[in-house]
Symmetry: C2
Subunit: 407 residues, 2 copies
């Protein structure tokens, strides 16, 4: 008898019929003798509906109240799924994040889970009940409702798996696993049976929508075995494993990309210690996450040029802050570009092989794609290019690294 | 500086624009120097939407989960109203029933409030904030979400007023006060400036939709001054007062009616002690509320006839139970009528004046309206008549008792 955490996203619970289908899947798992905790998202469309209501009232909704509002989305789903389970004679009980309790910090809209009180959940599991938990939400030390940010239900599921020491955390989604790249862009993309934890982390953080990065980090930290599967089709999905077999071999697992990036540059900043902090501190204080950062020497030796990328939603806000900073620092000029994307090659053992980088650059050059920024890590190489070259770049790299055929 | 509780129903918060209008009203009250606690319902239509979702999954939704589901309706409103207040520089903070905490018993869908922890609310009021509380909902001793039943937001508001010892509890609705009868049926109906507490109780319990009966009971018990006003128009509304001026004078305040009644009769029940309990016990155990009860001697002296009314929604269920009981008691026959309504005259000091009853019966007789049942109390006379005579009966009585002209 195993303890399985199953997480179903918004599309998987997007209608009454789909909720009933999820109930059948949960019941099947129960009938194998396993204990099951189900973590669910809001029904697809629901969060957008709530966001639209809020924005009609306040373009930048009050963070505390925005969380009160959004958390109702999952609360609707847990109630409906518990009813659907009860309707097929599978006893179930629902819990909101506050009821569980999923304790977080107080950073509304992007709260982080501190701990989970598993007492009530365990009691229900012991009593033979399926426990249905609202993903994406928690409660802070003052009893305020918090949310973990979009996609936070994955994190909730992994945190629940860690707290309960579950045997497997299954993330059900609308795709049947992790692919070498997005099949909508490259039809030859191939499903991976396994991927290492580190590769998954890069794939997630680089814009592959399958799993939320914080969920992957959490799973890594607590060694939670993670599996991505389809809610709609049978299949084993993709297992995210901890072993790294054959690290010596160059192995590109996949191509990730991020469409929603924007690039900001400040030119001619007088070069002095602490300049990076002076530029990025105010951005970070405004709760804007910075992705890539590049600092170059300026056009003369006394100044420096500084470029970073942010999520496109934060572009206007970041630009406003950067202009103020540039003025204070007596910088020469501020530039921005909203029409850029990032493409990344991900693979264990890549770093020791300079050949990967050069083949990547060569491939892009052959297609006439100009590289705007480059950044590398242990297991990935990322380039920023003009938005219009996204599809062309992904397909060219998928071919060049022969990802369509199994490694 | 007074402490005012304002309650806004579903229609008053039925759209973004209406929520913004409510925010303006609340701000006006604040600017008079008063402290304000706002209790709100779900946006109109929202509860129906949630009920439809639940019933698509389970015709009789699991009570615990049904409450988890429905309570999201008010949670959406408190968040949006708090944002709307913030948007016009009126600081506000929202609380769900669980957060306040509104502690109830565990009777899902019809929970009763036990007490309210006013500590957090007081702290916010002291800090100059408007407090926005979700009506209709609470939490039981085990931390389960409960709801007070439809219209329970009135009860929440009054309970909050009692807990905070508020100076006035204002119930904003889509009518501008309590009328002598429903103006949609009798256009000559007149708004009352004042009504006594007991009269309001009868008006509410007899089907006047302005206020929920439990809210009125609660207000009476805790001596909460209650005022009914319109969210859409200016005006003083109707004050529900505790004094009974000039009780000696016959004063008909108004005509209430209940459209959603159904009548059940069991004929020829062997007359023996405890027969009323044997008939009504199973009905009550099924959580069906019984309204009027009449017992008459049967066609022979050894049997008795028994008639009672229930809400029309409970008719089929009640009829099924009654048939079983009738069989067990060897009763002769079971009859039912779904097409009945109840009309009631309400007024303090009525009882000592037999003239009221006779004028009522005479008026109905003159219109050819057959009376099916009669029931009286200290301050009301109710008759059950065929549904088709509702409008005719109300108008005839409104004329006969000259309610269109101020007393």
């Amino acid at each position: 008898m195993s303890l399985i955490i199953q997480k179903y996203g918004g599309t998987s619970v997007g209608s009454v019929e789909r909720i009933q289908a999820v109930a059948q899947k949960v019941k099947q798992q129960r009938e194998r003798g396993d204990s099951v905790v189900v973590v669910v998202s809001a029904m697809s469309g629901e969060t957008d509906r709530l966001v639209a209501l809020a924005k009609a009232i306040q373009p930048e909704p009050l963070p505390r109240e925005f969380d009160v509002l959004l958390s109702t989305g999952e609360q609707v789903t847990i109630a409906l799924l518990s009813m659907a389970l009860d309707a097929i004679d599978c006893r179930a009980r629902s819990y909101t994040g506050a009821q569980v309790q999923v304790r977080t910090d107080s950073a509304h809209s992007k709260a982080r889970i501190r701990d989970i009180d598993d007492a009530r959940v365990r009691a229900d599991l012991d009593a033979g009940r399926v426990v249905v938990v609202a993903g994406f939400q928690g409660i802070d030390a003052q009893g305020n409702i918090t949310t973990l940010g979009r996609g936070g239900s994955d994190t909730s599921a992994v945190a629940m798996a860690a707290a309960l020491k579950a045997d497997e955390c299954q993330i059900y989604t609308d795709v049947d696993g992790v692919y070498t790249t997005d099949p909508r862009i490259e039809p030859k993309a191939r499903k991976l049976d396994r991927i290492t934890f580190e590769e998954m982390l890069e794939m997630a953080s680089l814009g592959s929508k399958v799993l939320q990065i914080r969920a992957v980090e959490f799973a890594g930290k607590y060694q939670v075995p993670l599996r991505v599967l389809s809610s709609f089709e049978e299949g084993e999905g993709t297992l995210i494993s901890f072993e790294e077999d054959a690290v010596e071999e160059v192995k590109i697992s996949g191509i990730a990309f991020a469409k929603d990036e924007a690039k900001l540059t400040v030119l001619g900043v007088p070069d002095q210690p602490g300049v990076a902090y002076k530029i990025l501190g105010p951005i970070s204080n405004a709760n804007i996450e910075v992705d890539m950062i590049i600092q170059n020497i300026g056009s003369d030796e006394k100044t420096t040029d500084f470029t970073f990328t942010v999520h496109r939603n934060d572009y206007t806000k970041a630009m406003g802050i950067l202009r103020d900073t540039a003025k204070a620092l007596a910088a020469r000029e501020v530039l921005g570009d909203e029409k850029i994307v990032k493409i990344s090659l991900v693979g264990v053992g890549m770093r020791s092989h300079a050949g990967v980088a050069s083949r990547m650059f060569e491939t892009l050059a052959r297609e006439g794609i100009n590289i705007r920024m480059i950044s590398t890590s242990e297991i990935k190489i990322s380039v920023v290019i003009d938005q219009k070259y996204l599809e062309l770049g992904v397909r060219a790299l998928h071919d060049a690294f022969e990802l369509a055929s199994p490694a």
